[in-house]
C-alpha cells in the first residue's frame, strides 16, 4: 500500500480509517502482518506456535482478572483464592480456565518443539529463534512452577518447599538463590509476594520480550515449510489463520470441557452442581505443622519427581544430579541441536533424542502414576497370602520359611511378592493421604463458608481450632494406640477392636454407648473393659451380676439410668420424657444403686472408689479425665494405664495443651460446626 490512495466514494468508517492510515500507516502494517506467504499452502502442522500465543494471551487475560481479586500474603492468599473460587460469580470458571490452560500450554509446548525438531526448523538461519524458543519454554515452566504456590494450599506449599530446596542444592550459589526466592530463611509472606511478582511480573514481562523477538525473527525468516512442497503457496490470511483459529478454539474447548464435564455428569446423575467445586482444585490451607503425604508436583513435573528416585540413596549428590545436572545436560543437548542438525545424521539424532526424551518423560510419568495408584489395579487376590505373611513376619525374609511350614519353593514365591506388597502398602497410604487431603480441603472450604467468615488470623486458624479436622489427628496420635474410635455397626470392626487395649470411644456420652456398657455381653468385651485392668473389676461384676437381677433392676430402670446419663453428657435424645430422666437420676444417685460406688451430684458418696457421674460425658467431664484420669473424680488409684495428658511432670510440658484436650473432647462428643442444609 502506498500512502496516496485514489479518491473514492467512501463512508464515514472508511474516511475515519483513511484519517488514521494517513497518520499511522496502519493498513500497511496490518497487510504486512496478514499477507505472509505460506510456501506449499496452509497446514495443520503449523498451528502449534499460534495456539501457544493464544494460550499465553488467555493466561494474560485470566491472570489479570485473577490479579484483581488475589491477595498475596500468608493470611490472605488461600482466603482470597477461596473467595474467588467459592463466592465470586464466575470465579470458578476464571480460575478453571487459568489453571487448565496452563496445563494445556505445557502440552502445546511439547507439540511445538516436536514439530520444530522433526521439520528441522532449527537449521540455519533459524538457530537463534530455536534458542529463543527454548528460553520461552523455560519461562513458561517457570510460570507454571511459581503459579502452583500462589493459592498457598497444602499441595502448592509442599511442592514449592521441595522445588526451592532442590534449587538450594546448586553448588556455591544454591543456598543464596533459595533464600532470595523464598524471601528469607522461612516460607511466608515474602515467599508469596516474590512468587507472585515472578509469576505475574518478571517472568511474563521477560516472556513477552522474548516472544516479540521470536515472532519478529519468525517473520524475518518466513515459515519453515515442510519439504517437499507439492501444493501451491497460500497466504497466511485467511488460509493459515483459519486453521490456527480452529486449533485455538479446539484448545479452548478442551479446557472448558475439563472444567464443565464434571458438572454435566453431576446433572445427568440428578445431582446439584455446586459451581465452587468445578474447575481448579483448592487444597486445605498451607500448614507447616501438618504432614502432607499426598504431596506431588503438578503432573507435568511428575517425571522429574520420579527421576529423582533413580538417585535414591545417593543423598544430596543424587538430588543435585537428578534435579539439576541431568536436566541441565538435556537442556544443553537441546541448545546444541541447531549445530548438530547441520549434518543429516545429526538431524536424525535430534529427532531421536527429542522422541526419546518425550518417551522417557512419558515412561517416568507412567511409573510415578503406577507407584501412586497401584492399589487401584493391583490383584489383591493374588497377593493375599503374601500380604498375610508379610504382616506376620514384618517383612523379615528370614522368617518366611518358618511361616510357610518349611516349604522352600513357596517361601521363595512369597518373598518374591514382598516387593509388590510393599508397593501396594505405599500406594495405599498415598491414596489414603489423598483422601484425607480432600476431606481436609472440603472441611476448610466448609469452615470458611460459615456466615462469620474467616477470622483475621486466616483460615489455618479456623482449621486448627476445628474439632472435626483436629480430633481424628489428635486421637490417632495420643489415644489411638490403646483406644479405638470405630462405629460398631461397620462390618469387620471386631478384628480391630480385639487388637485394642482400651475402650472404643465411638459415641461416648450417648445412650447407645452407655447401653453397651450396661450389657453383660459387652462390658467385658474389647469395646469396653475387656482389654483393660478393669476386666475383673467391680463394674464388670456389677453389670454381669446385680444388674441381671431383674426384680431389683427392671428393664425400665436400666433404660432410665441410660437416659439420665446421656442427659448428663448433653448428648441424650431430647425426645426422652423428663420423667424418665428424673427417675434415672434418682436411681443413679441412690446409694442402693449406682450411688453405692459413684458420686452423683449431691448424693454424698465418697470420691475415689469409682468415677464421678456428675456431668458424665460432658465436655467438662471429658476434659477432666483426659487431663488427669488419676484424679479422685475419675479412676484415682485404680487408673489402668491412661496417662495424665494435661498434667506436667515437674520441669516439663504436659503431653497435650488445654486447647488440644478441648478439641479432643469436642470431637469425641461430635460437637463441631455443621453448615445449615440450606447453605449448600
Amino acid at each position: 500500500m502506498n500512502g496516496k490512495s485514489p479518491p473514492r466514494r467512501s463512508g464515514l468508517l472508511t474516511q475515519l480509517g483513511d484519517f488514521f492510515d494517513d497518520r499511522t500507516g496502519w493498513r500497511a502494517a496490518v497487510h504486512e502482518a496478514l499477507y505472509e506467504r505460506v510456501p506449499g499452502g496452509a497446514r495443520w502442522r503449523y498451528v502449534w506456535g499460534s495456539t501457544l500465543v493464544f494460550a499465553f494471551l488467555t493466561q494474560v487475560i485470566t491472570g489479570l482478572f485473577l490479579w484483581a481479586s488475589y491477595s498475596a500474603s500468608g493470611q490472605t492468599a488461600w482466603e482470597s483464592v477461596w473467595y474467588i473460587q467459592h463466592e465470586m460469580a464466575g470465579g470458578w470458571l476464571l480460575r478453571g480456565i487459568h489453571h487448565f490452560m496452563a496445563q494445556a500450554m505445557v502440552v502445546l509446548l511439547a507439540l511445538h518443539l516436536l514439530q520444530v525438531v522433526i521439520d528441522g526448523a532449527y537449521r540455519a538461519p533459524r538457530e537463534v529463534n530455536f534458542w529463543l524458543g527454548l528460553v520461552l519454554m523455560m519461562l513458561v515452566l517457570g510460570m507454571a512452577l511459581t503459579g502452583y504456590l500462589l493459592p498457598w494450599d497444602q499441595k502448592g506449599y509442599w511442592a514449592t518447599r521441595v522445588a526451592t530446596n532442590l534449587a538450594g542444592l546448586v553448588p556455591l550459589v544454591g543456598p543464596a538463590v533459595q533464600q532470595l526466592v523464598v524471601g528469607g530463611p522461612d516460607y511466608g509472606h515474602h515467599t508469596l509476594t516474590r512468587f507472585f511478582a515472578l509469576h505475574a511480573g518478571f517472568l511474563p514481562a521477560t516472556l513477552v520480550l522474548f516472544l516479540v523477538v521470536h515472532l519478529v525473527l519468525f517473520r524475518k525468516h518466513g515459515l519453515c515449510a515442510r519439504q517437499p512442497i507439492t501444493k501451491p503457496d497460500a497466504m497466511f490470511w485467511p488460509d493459515q489463520v483459519l486453521k490456527d483459529a480452529v486449533a485455538m478454539l479446539a484448545v479452548m474447548a478442551v479446557v472448558l470441557g475439563v472444567i464443565l464435564v464434571p458438572a454435566v455428569r453431576t446433572m445427568l446423575a440428578g445431582g446439584t452442581v455446586v459451581p465452587g467445586e468445578l474447575g481448579a482444585e483448592l487444597g486445605a490451607p498451607a500448614d507447616p505443622s501438618q504432614p502432607y503425604a499426598a504431596a506431588r508436583p503438578e503432573w507435568y513435573f511428575l517425571f522429574l519427581f520420579q527421576f529423582l528416585k533413580v538417585f535414591e540413596g545417593w543423598g544430596a549428590t543424587g538430588e543435585f544430579l537428578g534435579a539439576i545436572v541431568v536436566p541441565g545436560l538435556i537442556m544443553g543437548v537441546m541448545f546444541m541441536m541447531p549445530i548438530v542438525g547441520r549434518w543429516q545424521l545429526g538431524h536424525r539424532f535430534n529427532i531421536a533424542f527429542t522422541l526419546g526424551l518425550l518417551a522417557g518423560i512419558g515412561l517416568l510419568t507412567g511409573l510415578a502414576l503406577n507407584e501412586d495408584y497401584y492399589a487401584l489395579w493391583a490383584d489383591r487376590q493374588q497377593l493375599a497370602e503374601a500380604e498375610k505373611i508379610f504382616d506376620e513376619t514384618q517383612g523379615d525374609e528370614a522368617k518366611v520359611l518358618a511361616a510357610v511350614g518349611g516349604d522352600k519353593p513357596r517361601a521363595a514365591v512369597i518373598v518374591g511378592q514382598f516387593a509388590k506388597v510393599e508397593k501396594l502398602r505405599r500406594s495405599e497410604s498415598f491414596l489414603a493421604a489423598v483422601k484425607m487431603a480432600r476431606a481436609d480441603a472440603e472441611r476448610a472450604v466448609e469452615l470458611a463458608g460459615r456466615p462469620e467468615r474467616i477470622p483475621p488470623g486466616g483460615a489455618l486458624e479456623l482449621v486448627r481450632h476445628d474439632p472435626k479436622a483436629q480430633g481424628p489427628r489428635l486421637f490417632a496420635q495420643h489415644c489411638g494406640s490403646c483406644h479405638t474410635h470405630l462405629d460398631p455397626a461397620q462390618p469387620g470392626v471386631e478384628a480391630l477392636l480385639a487388637k485394642s487395649s482400651a475402650a472404643n470411644l465411638h459415641g461416648f456420652g450417648t445412650a447407645v454407648w452407655m447401653k453397651g456398657l450396661l450389657d453383660p455381653e459387652q462390658v467385658a468385651g474389647p469395646a469396653y473393659f475387656g482389654n483393660t485392668a478393669h476386666k475383673d473389676g467391680d463394674m464388670v461384676g456389677f453389670v454381669q451380676g446385680d444388674l441381671q437381677d431383674h426384680d431389683t433392676w427392671k428393664p425400665a430402670d436400666i433404660e432410665a439410668v441410660i437416659a439420665a446419663l446421656a442427659a448428663e453428657s448433653g448428648l441424650g435424645d431430647p425426645e426422652t420424657p423428663a420423667a424418665v430422666v428424673a427417675q434415672g437420676r434418682t436411681l443413679v444417685a441412690s446409694d442402693e444403686r449406682c450411688g453405692a460406688c459413684h458420686r452423683f451430684g449431691e448424693n454424698g458418696t465418697d470420691l475415689g472408689t469409682a468415677c464421678d457421674l456428675t456431668g458424665w460425658g460432658s465436655r467438662e467431664w471429658l476434659v477432666g479425665i483426659i487431663t488427669d484420669p488419676t484424679h479422685e473424680r475419675f479412676y484415682g488409684d485404680l487408673n489402668d494405664r491412661m496417662p495424665s495428658f494435661g498434667k506436667a511432670a515437674e520441669g516439663s510440658m504436659p503431653m497435650l495443651k488445654d486447647d488440644q484436650i478441648g478439641l479432643l473432647a469436642d470431637w469425641l462428643r461430635g460437637q463441631w460446626y455443621r453448615p445449615a442444609a440450606a447453605h449448600r
Partner: protein, 186 residues
C-alpha cells in the same frame, strides 16, 4: 511483503472461499478469546452484586458520656464487619459526632463523613464549628453550612435513639457525597 507475492487474479469461487475462510477464522478466533474475556468480566463485575450492610441501630455510648453543653463530641461506631473473606469481630467502622442541648435528654447525631467528597470532618479546636481538612467545607455545630463552603449540603444527620438505661444508639448509614440531596447508599 511485496505485491507480487499475492496470488494473482483469484477466480470468483476462490474469492468466495476466501470470504468464507475469513469469516470462519474471525468467528473461531473471536469465540476462543471470548471465553477468558467473559469469565474475567463475569468475575470482575461481581462487586456490583454485593450490597452493603443494611442500616441498623448500633450502640455508640451512654447518655452520661454526652455532656449537655451543645458541643459535639466524637464517638467511634463499633460493629462486626465482613470484608470479603474476613470476618472481623466488633471493631470501629466509623465515627459520629453526638451533641446534646442544655437539659435535654435528646441526642443529635451527625455523620463525620463530609457530604462534599467524603473526607473526615474535624471539630475545630475552639469548638465553634466543624471544618473538613480536605477542601475546607465549614459547618456550624448543628451541622449547618457556614459560607464559604464547597459542601453541597449540610452535614448528614443520623437517626439517634436513647434507650431506657441511657444507652445511645445511632442508625449507621452512608450517603452519596457531592450531591445536594441526602441519598442513602444501600
Amino acid at each position: 511483503m511485496t505485491q507480487s507475492a499475492r496470488p494473482e487474479h483469484p477466480a470468483a469461487s476462490e474469492s468466495r472461499r476466501g470470504f468464507f475462510a475469513k469469516v470462519a477464522a474471525v468467528a473461531c478466533g473471536g469465540l476462543a478469546t471470548l471465553a477468558p474475556v467473559a469469565a474475567g468480566l463475569w468475575t470482575f463485575l461481581d462487586p456490583l452484586r454485593r450490597k452493603g450492610a443494611a442500616a441498623t441501630f448500633l450502640p455508640v455510648t451512654e447518655l452520661s458520656a454526652v455532656p449537655d453543653d451543645g458541643v459535639p463530641r466524637q464517638f467511634a461506631v463499633v460493629a462486626e464487619r465482613i470484608d470479603a473473606w474476613t470476618g472481623f469481630a466488633r471493631e470501629p467502622i466509623g465515627a459520629v459526632y453526638l451533641r446534646r442541648e442544655k437539659g435535654s435528654t435528646e441526642v443529635e447525631a451527625l455523620s463525620a463523613t463530609c457530604p462534599h467528597a467524603g473526607c473526615f470532618i474535624e471539630l475545630e479546636g475552639n469548638a465553634r464549628g466543624f471544618r473538613c481538612p480536605c477542601h475546607n467545607s465549614q459547618f456550624s455545630l448543628d451541622g449547618g453550612i457556614l459560607e464559604p463552603s464547597p459542601s453541597p449540603r449540610v452535614m448528614d444527620s443520623l437517626e439517634c435513639r436513647v434507650g431506657p438505661k441511657g444507652e445511645v444508639a445511632v442508625k449507621w448509614e452512608n450517603f452519596y457525597s457531592g450531591i445536594a440531596g441526602k441519598v442513602a447508599r444501600s
